[in-house]
C-alpha cells in the first residue's frame, strides 16, 4: 500500500501529513474530531540520527496538546548503517525516539503504530515497537533479520531456513510471524476503510500495560516469555 | 547434538555442604557444568549434551578418570558442551567439584 493511498483511507476528514525525504510528519483529523499527531518513516528510508532527532522532536513538541493519539506510520529500512551515525551515538537517538513515544503513551497520548511496508532491527524498535498497539497492514513485510544474513551466520542454506520457518514463527521475516509473537496486535484489512478500523481500535484501546508477552503466549508464538517474566517478577517482589 | 549419560559408583561422598554449583560457559570449545548434590553418597551421575557428535568413547574415558580421581559421590553433573576438548572437560569437572566442596550456601 502506498503512503498516499493509506493516508487517504485513514483520514477522510483531512490531514496535512507530508513526506519529507522519508520522514513523515503532520496532523490529521479523526472521525471523533480528535487531532492526531502523525509521524513516521516512508519509502523504506533508513533511520539515522538525522531522522530520529526530527521524529522525537515532533513527539515531544506535541505533548502539551491534550489526549489525542499519536500515529506512527512505518515503511523503513533498518537503522542507518554508517560510520557517522554510529560515531555520533545512533543508539541514543533511536532510544530517545522510543522513549519519547513510550512516555507519550504512558502520559495520556495513546500511540498506535501502523506497519505498512518494510522495517527491521533498530528502526522497528525505535518506531513501531515503541507504540502501545502495533497494527499490521497486509502490505507489511517486517524482517528483524533477513534470511540471507541468517544463512551466512548460521551456515545453513536459505532453503533449510525456510523449511525450519514452517514449524516456528520465532526467527523468519514476515507479518504473520510477528503477529504470532505478539508484536503485531492486529492486522487490518486494506480493502475496507482504514478510518473505520482506526475508530474501532481507538474505541476499544487496551490499557497502556505491555501485554505483548501474554499475547504471544495466547497465539502460540512465545510460549515461555510471559511465564518467565512473571516468575522473576514475583520472586523479586518477595524481596521486600 | 548428542546426549550421553554415565552412571558410576563413587568411593565416597564428595566434601562440603553446598547444594549446587555451576562453572563454565557454553561457547565454542568450552562447556558449562552444573553440579547438584542430589544422589545417594556412593553414586555419581553425568548427563551430557554435546555439540560434538561421535566422541562417546572419549567422554567415557574422561568421565571414568574423573570419577576415579575425585570420587564425587552424591553428585549429579549436568553438562552443556560447545565442543570442548577433553582437557577442558576434565578441568571444568574438577572445578565444579572444587566449587561445590567450598563452604557456602
Amino acid at each position: 500500500m502506498t503512503l498516499d493511498k493509506m493516508l487517504a483511507s485513514l483520514f477522510p476528514n483531512g490531514h496535512d501529513v507530508k513526506n519529507d525525504n522519508g520522514v513523515i510528519f503532520g496532523s490529521a483529523t479523526l472521525r471523533s474530531g480528535a487531532n492526531a499527531l502523525v509521524i513516521g518513516v516512508a519509502d523504506r528510508t533508513a533511520v539515522g540520527v538525522d531522522e530520529a532527532i526530527r521524529l522525537s522532536g515532533y513527539v515531544l513538541n506535541s505533548l502539551a496538546q491534550g489526549s489525542d493519539p499519536i500515529l506512527v506510520l512505518v515503511d523503513s529500512d533498518s537503522q542507518r548503517m554508517s560510520k557517522r551515525d554510529e560515531m555520533l551515538g545512533l543508539n541514543e537517538y533511536l532510544a530517545h525516539l522510543a522513549k519519547s513515544l513510550i512516555y507519550a503513551d504512558m502520559h495520556g497520548r495513546p500511540t498506535i503504530g501502523l506497519l505498512y511496508g518494510h522495517s527491521a532491527a533498530g528502526a522497528l524498535l525505535a518506531t513501531g515497537l515503541a507504540t502501545r498497539v502495533l497494527v499490521g497492514l497486509p502490505s507489511a513485510e517486517p524482517a528483524v533479520m533477513d534470511l540471507p544474513s541468517m544463512a551466512r551466520v548460521t551456515k545453513l542454506s536459505i532453503e533449510a531456513l525456510q523449511e525450519k520457518a514452517k514449524s516456528t514463527p520465532v526467527f523468519a521475516p514476515g507479518l504473520s510471524n510477528l503477529a504470532r509473537m505478539g508484536a503485531v496486535q492486529i492486522t487490518w484489512n486494506d480493502a475496507v476503510s482504514l478510518a473505520d478500523q482506526l475508530e474501532a481500535l481507538l474505541g476499544s484501546l487496551p490499557s497502556p500495560h505491555d501485554r505483548r508477552d501474554a499475547l504471544g503466549k495466547e497465539r502460540g508464538g512465545r510460549l515461555k516469555a510471559a511465564d518467565i517474566a512473571e516468575r522473576v517478577r514475583e520472586l523479586a517482589l518477595q524481596t521486600q | 547434538m548428542e546426549d550421553l549419560s554415565f552412571q558410576h559408583k563413587a568411593r565416597g561422598r564428595a566434601g562440603g555442604t553446598r547444594r549446587s554449583a555451576i562453572i563454565g560457559v557454553v561457547a565454542s570449545g568450552n562447556l558449562e557444568v552444573l553440579v547438584e548434590r542430589v544422589l545417594p553418597d556412593a553414586e555419581c551421575q553425568l548427563e551430557i549434551k554435546t555439540a560434538a557428535v561421535g566422541f562417546g568413547p572419549v567422554w567415557d574415558a574422561v568421565v571414568a578418570d574423573f570419577v576415579e580421581r575425585y570420587s564425587p559421590g552424591g553428585l549429579k553433573f549436568s553438562v552443556n558442551d560447545g565442543g570442548a576438548r577433553p582437557d577442558t572437560v576434565s578441568l571444568r569437572l574438577a572445578q565444579a567439584v572444587r566449587l561445590i566442596e567450598e563452604d557456602g550456601q
Binding site: - | 568413547p57 582437557d87 574438577a94
Partner: protein, 561 residues
C-alpha cells in the same frame, strides 16, 4: 653452469676465466639503459627485469618471514614470457600470492624454498598439479648454505627501507635474509636489485654497502610487513597456562636453561608471561631464560621489564616493537642509528650452536616422536624450527643443561667422551583446534610424501632429536627411555584422551611414572586447578603496552581501545 673456457682469438686459443663477470656486465649494461645512476623508476621495473634476467636463471625474490619485496614480485610477474621464462626461484619464503602466480604464468618453473606458511594450501595444490618442479624444501640455514654452493642466484630482488644515491641500503629492523642473499649474489657475479621505500641523502646506517647493489627502485608504498610474532595474551587458555607451568617447573628449572629459543605458539607465549609471576614465585629469576635467540616477542616484555632477560638476538623484528627495542638496547642488538639489527643467518646459527634448548609447538607427533606441521592439504615448509630443534653435532662447548641432558641419555658412558644433548622440547595440548589430536599413529607427512613421490617425508623435527614432550597431562622425558617400546609408552602416556593416549599400556606408563620418565602435574606439585589466567603477567595487549611504558605500539588489529 659449465661453459667453455676456451675462446679463439686470432687463431690462438686463449683460456678465459671471467665468463660470469662478462655476462654480469652485459646484464648491467642492458639494465643501465633504464637507470639514472642506479635508480630505476617503478614503472620501468618490469623492463628492468626483462633486461637483466635470462631464461632459466636462478632468481632469489626476497620473501622473508616479514619483509616482502612486493613491488619487485609484481614487476617480475608482468614480464614478457618470450624474454623471461622457466626461472628457478631460490627464496626462503613463499609468502605472497604473486610468488606462486609466477609458476601459474610460466615465468618460473622450479622452486627451492624453506617456508610457505601463508601459501601452504595453494602450494600443496600446485605441487599436486605438477605446476611447480620442486627442488627441495629446506631449513633457512640449509637454503642459505646452498646459496654459496649450488643454488647461487643470478639475480637477487631484495627489499630495504631506504637507499642513498650511491646505493647504500638501510634495511630497517627487519634485516633478516638480506645480507646473506646479497653476499651470495653480488660476490658471484650476480645482479642485485633493491626496492626501497625512500631514497634519501644519507641512510641511518649501512646494512648493505653500495658496491653490492646494482639497481634501486623506489616503491610507491612501503613494503608489506605482517605481525607474525604477536600473541594476544587475552587468547591464552587455562590449558596452555597449565602446560606452561609444567614446562617451567619440569624442564626449565631442573636443567637450569638460560640460553634458549622459543617457538611462536600460545604455549610458549604463556611461558613468557608466567616468568615474572610463577617463575618469580619458584625463585628462578637469574637461573633460567636469560639469553634468547628470538624475534622481539611482545609477550616477553613483562619478563624483560622484570629483569629476567639479559640479551636477545633476533632473526627479524616485529611490528610495533621498534621504539621499545630502541629504548632497551641493553637487551637487543641495535645499530648506530638505534634501531634493531636482525640477521636470520646469524640468529639461526646462534640458535643451533649457542642455545641449550628449543621449545615449540607442532601439529602432529607420532609414536617415535617425529613431528610435522604438514597436513595432507597444507605444506608450510620448515622455516627455522629444524635447526633450532636439532642437536648440533659440531658443538664442542659444554654447559650445564647440555651436559645433564647428555648424561641422562647415556649415563654409562665416560663423561669425558660423552656428547651433551640439546634440549628439544615439543609443547602442546593433546587436542588442537577443532579437536584435532596432536598425537597420531602415522604422520600426514608420510602420506604426502607418497602422493608427491618425495624422497623424504617432510619431518619438522626427527624423533631422535626430541628430548621432552609436554602436554597438559605431564612431561615425558624421552632421554630416559631405553628402548623404542619405552619411548612409545612415554609418548602415549602424555597423549591424554587421543586415540594414541587411550591406547597406552597402563602398567608400562605407571612404571615410567615411577622412574620419572613421565611426570604428572601432581608429581611436580602442580594442581591443575591453579592454572588460572590471573597468573599471567599481562592478560591483554593493553597490559603489554603498559608494561612497556607506552613504548610498544601494537598494530591496529590487536587493539581493543
Amino acid at each position: 653452469m659449465l661453459m667453455s673456457r676456451n675462446t679463439e682469438t686470432n687463431g690462438r686459443t686463449v683460456t678465459t676465466w671471467q665468463h660470469q663477470r662478462a655476462a654480469r656486465d652485459a646484464r648491467l649494461e642492458a639494465g643501465s639503459r633504464l637507470a639514472r645512476g642506479k635508480i630505476v623508476e617503478a614503472h620501468d621495473a618490469t623492463r628492468l627485469m626483462e633486461a637483466v634476467i635470462r631464461p632459466g636463471d636462478r632468481v632469489c625474490l626476497e620473501g622473508d618471514n616479514q619483509k616482502q619485496a612486493d613491488l619487485l614480485s609484481t614487476a617480475l610477474l608482468a614480464v614478457d614470457l618470450t624474454e623471461v621464462n622457466d626461472l628457478h626461484m631460490v627464496q626462503s619464503g613463499v609468502v605472497l600470492p604473486e610468488h606462486l602466480d609466477l609458476f601459474d604464468r610460466g615465468v618460473a618453473k622450479k622452486l627451492d624454498y624453506a617456508y610457505s606458511g601463508p601459501q601452504s594450501a595453494r602450494i600443496a595444490q600446485m605441487l599436486f598439479d605438477g605446476k611447480i618442479e620442486l627442488g627441495a624444501i629446506h631449513t633457512y640455514l640449509e637454503l642459505f648454505a646452498r646459496y654459496f654452493i649450488d643454488l647461487t642466484p643470478h639475480v637477487a630482488l631484495i627489499a630495504a627501507v631506504s637507499a642513498d644515491r650511491e646505493g647504500n641500503l638501510f634495511t630497517g629492523p627487519n634485516t633478516e635474509d638480506t645480507p646473506t642473499v646479497v653476499e651470495a649474489t653480488a660476490f658471484k657475479d650476480g645482479v642485485v636489485i633493491a626496492q626501497v621505500n625512500e631514497i634519501i641523502e644519507k641512510v641511518p646506517r649501512v646494512d648493505i654497502p653500495a658496491d653490492r647493489v646494482h639497481f634501486i627502485i623506489k616503491s610507491d608504498k612501503p613494503f608489506f610487513v605482517e605481525p607474525l610474532f604477536t600473541r594476544d595474551p587475552a587468547a591464552i587458555t587455562e590449558g596452555q597456562i597449565l602446560t606452561a607451568m609444567l614446562a617451567i617447573k619440569g624442564i626449565y628449572a631442573p636443567y637450569g636453561v638460560q640460553r634458549l629459543n622459543h617457538g611462536i605458539g600460545f604455549s610458549t607465549a604463556a611461558i613468557e608471561l608466567l616468568l615474572p609471576t610463577y617463575g618469580e614465585k619458584l625463585g628462578l629469576k637469574g637461573k633460567i631464560a636469560s639469553h634468547f635467540a628470538l624475534n622481539p616477542h611482545p609477550a616477553l616484555i613483562p619478563a624483560i621489564e622484570s629483569g629476567w632477560v639479559q640479551q636477545i638476538h633476533s632473526f627479524g623484528s616485529e611490528v610495533g616493537m621498534d621504539d621499545y627495542i630502541r629504548a632497551r638496547s641493553d637487551i637487543y642488538f641495535t645499530g648506530p642509528d638505534g634501531s634493531l639489527r636482525s640477521n636470520r643467518a646469524f640468529c639461526q646459527t646462534a640458535g643451533l650452536y649457542a642455545c641449550d634448548m628449543f621449545i615449540g609447538s607442532t601439529l602432529q607427533i607420532d609414536l617415535q616422536g617425529n613431528s610435522s606441521t604438514v597436513t595432507t592439504s597444507r605444506i608450510a615448509g620448515f622455516g627455522g624450527a629444524p635447526n633450532m630443534g636439532a642437536d648440533a653435532r659440531g658443538r664442542r662447548h659444554p654447559s650445564g643443561p647440555w651436559l645433564k641432558a647428555g648424561a641422562e641419555a647415556d649415563p654409562d658412558k665416560s663423561a669425558f667422551l660423552r656428547r651433551g644433548r640439546k634440549l628439544v622440547v615439543q609443547i602442546g595440548e593433546t587436542f588442537g583446534d577443532k579437536n584435532v589430536p596432536l598425537f597420531v599413529e602415522k604422520l600426514d607427512a608420510l602420506e604426502l610424501a607418497e602422493k608427491l613421490n618425495l624422497d623424504l617425508a617432510p619431518i619438522m623435527i626427527y624423533g631422535d632429536d626430541v628430548t621432552h614432550i609436554v602436554t597438559e597431562e605431564g612431561v615425558a622425558n624421552l632421554l630416559l627411555c631405553r628402548s623404542d617400546a619405552e619411548r612409545e609408552q612415554a609418548i602415549r602416556g602424555v597423549a591424554g584422551y587421543t586415540e594414541v593416549g587411550r591406547g597406552r599400556d597402563r602398567n608400562a606408563v605407571a612404571q615410567l611414572r615411577e622412574r620419572g620418565v613421565i611426570r604428572r602435574p601432581e608429581d611436580l606439585g602442580i594442581n591443575p586447578l591453579d592454572a588460572d589466567r590471573s597468573m599471567l603477567a599481562a592478560r591483554s595487549i593493553k597490559d603489554l603496552v603498559r608494561w612497556s611504558g607506552g613504548l610498544y605500539a601494537p598494530p591496529s588489529k590487536f587493539r581493543n581501545w
